[in-house]
């Protein structure tokens, strides 16, 4: 399996292209912007985009979808089926999907948006805007932040710390690196009771 990175000028988001060594059906994660460089990379590896995984609905991660579906005919997977003009197959939390021989596990971690998903392929986590190198995802309020932190704590930090992180923005990383050096994450996880953080009483 090959993984390629594509850096989009659309809000500096990352797009990931994953496909078999010898070409064939491939997966594109977060098509924020489709440009000639990405098309050439797809074609030179003899890939056909058969599947698109969206980590969440924000334009920086989805805006290239319109261009992409003019060239290929992918099945699009996302957390909320009603958002996009293109037909979307709704992803369920903990779903294990076989996408042309590549096994993908869907991990729902709401907070940055309510439809945010992390996709696990092998020992790699495609975290979208849930967790970046050195940062945690932004949120609109304290309830959303509590949801995000609980999701990261219960669903990501419990995984093998050698898992790699491929975020929606910025540099790639690994769980061990984030546990040791991501000060935002370290400070947030120091809060003993994340349930308490989300309790409405703290809003008053």
């Amino acid at each position: 399996m090959k993984v390629f990175f594509h850096f989009s000028l659309n809000e500096y988001a990352n797009t990931y292209l994953i496909g078999p060594e010898d070409g064939g059906d491939a997966i594109l994660i977060d098509p924020g912007h489709i440009d000639l460089e990405l098309i050439e990379r797809i074609e030179s590896n003899r890939f056909t985009i058969a599947h698109v995984l969206l980590t969440h609905r924000h334009a920086a991660h989805t805006e290239g979808l319109g261009t992409l579906v003019k060239i290929y005919d992918p099945t699009v997977y996302a957390g909320s089926p009603s958002v996009y003009d293109h037909p979307v197959r709704a992803v369920q939390d903990r779903a294990i999907m076989d996408l042309s021989g590549i096994t993908v596990e869907a991990i729902q971690i709401p907070g940055h948006t309510m439809d945010s998903f992390v996709y696990r392929i092998g020992n790699s986590l495609f975290t979208g805007d849930v967790l970046y190198a050195g940062r945690i995802g932004s949120t609109n309020g304290v309830m959303e932040k509590a949801l995000l932190l609980k999701g990261i704590k219960n669903r990501l930090l419990t995984l093998d710390e050698r898992f790699l992180i491929f975020p929606g923005h910025g540099t790639i990383s690994a769980l061990k690196i984030e546990k040791l050096f991501n000060r935002e994450l370290i400070d947030a996880m120091a809060i003993d009771d994340l349930e308490q953080l989300s309790h409405p009483s703290i809003l008053t």
């Binding site: 090959k2 993984v3 850096f7 190198a133 050698r162 910025g170 540099t171 790639i172 690196i177 040791l180």
Partner: protein, 193 residues
């Protein structure tokens, strides 16, 4: 992608070396195995997905190697020459680099996090989207390099030069800095808090 096959020896937490069942420490004829791996890496071809973790390399010439998505975690590099090399999306996390040169290197998307760097040179290098989180760097020179969107978050930098660098979107939050120079660099576009 990295294959990450565990070493076959019970209780060993290291990964098996490329095309082997064990890590270097548990390999028979480990010196020959290491030489063979170095020979493979330094030929003129592009290599990807090579796993070579927990290895000590001294006085090795890796200049002009072309490596993609390779794993060199926890290695010790002493006087290793990576000048003009392409090491894209490679993992060098928790390594020790001493007197190494990366001048003219293309290390975009690579991960150097948690490493200790002593007297290393990264001049004229392409280091966009490179992860230097938590590094402990002493007497290092990144001058004239493109560090766009790289992260030095939570790192400890002593006598490190970033002269005439592109620091747009670079992350220097939570760093401890002594004798660090950003002369002629666009440090105002980097993140410090």
């Amino acid at each position: 992608m990295f294959k990450c096959v565990p070493c076959a020896v019970d209780g060993c937490k290291r990964y098996a070396l490329e095309e082997m069942y064990t890590c270097l420490q548990h390999a028979q004829n480990s010196a020959e195995v290491l030489q063979s791996l170095i020979f493979t890496l330094t030929d003129s071809h592009r290599h990807r997905d090579i796993v070579m973790t927990d290895v000590r390399l001294k006085d090795v010439d890796f200049s002009k190697v072309h490596l993609t998505t390779c794993d060199f975690a926890r290695c010790v590099f002493e006087r290793v020459d990576f000048s003009d090399a392409k090491v894209q999306a490679c993992f060098f996390d928790f390594c020790i680099f001493e007197d190494c040169t990366f001048d003219g290197c293309d290390a975009r998307h690579s991960v150097v996090a948690g490493s200790k760097l002593l007297n290393c040179s990264f001049k004229d290098s392409l280091l966009i989207h490179t992860n230097f989180m938590g590094i402990d760097a002493h007497d290092c020179d990144f001058s004239s390099s493109d560090l766009y969107s790289s992260s030095f978050c939570s790192s400890h930098l002593v006598n490190v030069r970033f002269i005439d660098c592109n620091l747009k979107s670079a992350d220097f939050r939570f760093t401890e800095r002594m004798g660090v120079s950003f002369k002629y660099s666009n440090y105002e576009e980097a993140s410090f808090s």
